[in-house]
Symmetry: C2
Subunit: 329 residues, 2 copies
Amino acid sequence: NKAAMSEYMAEPITENLKERLAAGGDMQAQMEHLVLTIQKAVITGLTGVCGAVRVDRWVRLGRGGGGISCVLQDTPVWHKAGCNVSVVNGVLTERAAGEMASRGKTLLPGPKKFFAAGVSCVVHPRNPFAPTMHFNYRYFQITNDTNETQSWFGGGQDLTPAYVNEEDIRHFHGTLKAACDRHDPTYYPRFKKWADEYFMITHRGETRGVGGIFFDDLADQPAGHYLAFLTDMGNAVVPAYIPLVVKHKDDAFTDAQQEWQQIRRGRYVEFNLVYDRGTKFGLFTPEARIESIFISLPLTARWEYCHEPEEGSAEAELVALVKAPREWA
Amino acid sequence: NKAAMSEYMAEPITENLKERLAAGGDMQAQMEHLVLTIQKAVITGLTGVCGAVRVDRWVRLGRGGGGISCVLQDTPVWHKAGCNVSVVNGVLTERAAGEMASRGKTLLPGPKKFFAAGVSCVVHPRNPFAPTMHFNYRYFQITNDTNETQSWFGGGQDLTPAYVNEEDIRHFHGTLKAACDRHDPTYYPRFKKWADEYFMITHRGETRGVGGIFFDDLADQPAGHYLAFLTDMGNAVVPAYIPLVVKHKDDAFTDAQQEWQQIRRGRYVEFNLVYDRGTKFGLFTPEARIESIFISLPLTARWEYCHEPEEGSAEAELVALVKAPREWA
């Protein structure tokens, strides 16, 4: 299907997606279309700056669904940048149900099937002054054996610089706030606070970066409201982030500044492997594609014993910021 | 106390250790002496090859106990090598009790205090042909409010090469087996198998390295038996491992071989942050010293998207080995 391939990064995961969309579009089809569209827009933004993309389309062997992974690696601008789409379904494991219950969700009784469609992306640029960015938007639906269904939306988007540039941070937060405000004026303040709590490396007493937004289990409004909200948030990714990379990709830097970037990348790995909900869900999903889950990990990282930034340095400024989140928009 | 400082790497954690040992020695004192002695022997072995050591003695602020961390970092031979002693006590958290119960231990009823003494060590050499080594020996004791006590011993020692050298692996396993055999002929086969199960990176379907021994919750024999066993295992660390580093520290290597070492270091990080019992216990212990827990992490690591060793290569040989553990002694 040539038309589908130019609209998306690869043919959709579901064979009859076009037909279901043309027929009005159930929420599963609309979400698959949305995550594929966001992926296309983001990869177009990334390749527009630098580099060719590797595209892998995969299916879950013997289980339902699959995904498309797009990765740019070791190019002049990008250490590693990836954007994944996955559209999967199956039987909800006890472990996954337990994780959902543990964050306060009351699930339908009985054995459950699930459907999940999501897009997730992590971009690690090479220049220490160009920040790392992550986003993830997802839809989750469960159905029990008496055919009751329950569904919710989640997502987030956050920025992780190695050095503080207040103008950059205000631009990123401001763009997210403007997109949120079009849907509900309470979203940005609530979701900004949620991000400060969620992207927390508890054992370090610091946030992963300078935050952004985070939300999960949204289900109070009609699905159409959230679909429109996620569409706008997806559209905000490129304008919120790409200008920061364009601005800094050719900044001069020292070996010591690159080492500091690598130490902060180590913190990124700690957050993702110890705390991140999406990573854990992925690692414990049978037949998950590990290489796609781990595009979030940086190309390289560093752990120095007892590294302490010099008092008053630019490195110390960043540490102060992740120990006490501020308002940016 | 000058005498204590030459016998150990720093003054003991417990003020009256010498007196308690002279008076016959309760098990807590004997274990503190043992872990301090093992630390001294291992650091002497490491500095004998190369590099000066940084020694940090720390106390748990407002809680019981403390530790001594010894680290060699970024020297010509060692990327990062650390050996920690900790001797701590306090109230057993629900979370820690839950972890213990989840591996099948039946704990004393009621609220519990704990005492833990342990030595742990991870050595990451610079040369890709010199393997990484880890060991940990520990004693755990709990006491409930009616003064009943329960105690057990645990530990392990394993080797993680980036390239397969069968002679090296046989030397390492053979040395451990000889030390085990002096105490119980069933120990090595049981604990070797236990290591193959424990040091498993489940999401990769591979072991962290080529194994060694692992055991936990040992409590059937009198404490004196296990103290003698751990003493011998501690004595076996230097002869099992240091010769392998001396043999390979000056081997020639290419950039590609170093990159492969870095990819395997990434796997090491995955195991430690996602699965390792000791790391998790540390991360969730209030007022734990994070820098000491994370001496296990390599100085640098690498994650390449979809890296696949060439068929028939030395890298592919290592992958085959970690996917299907073998017998070595």
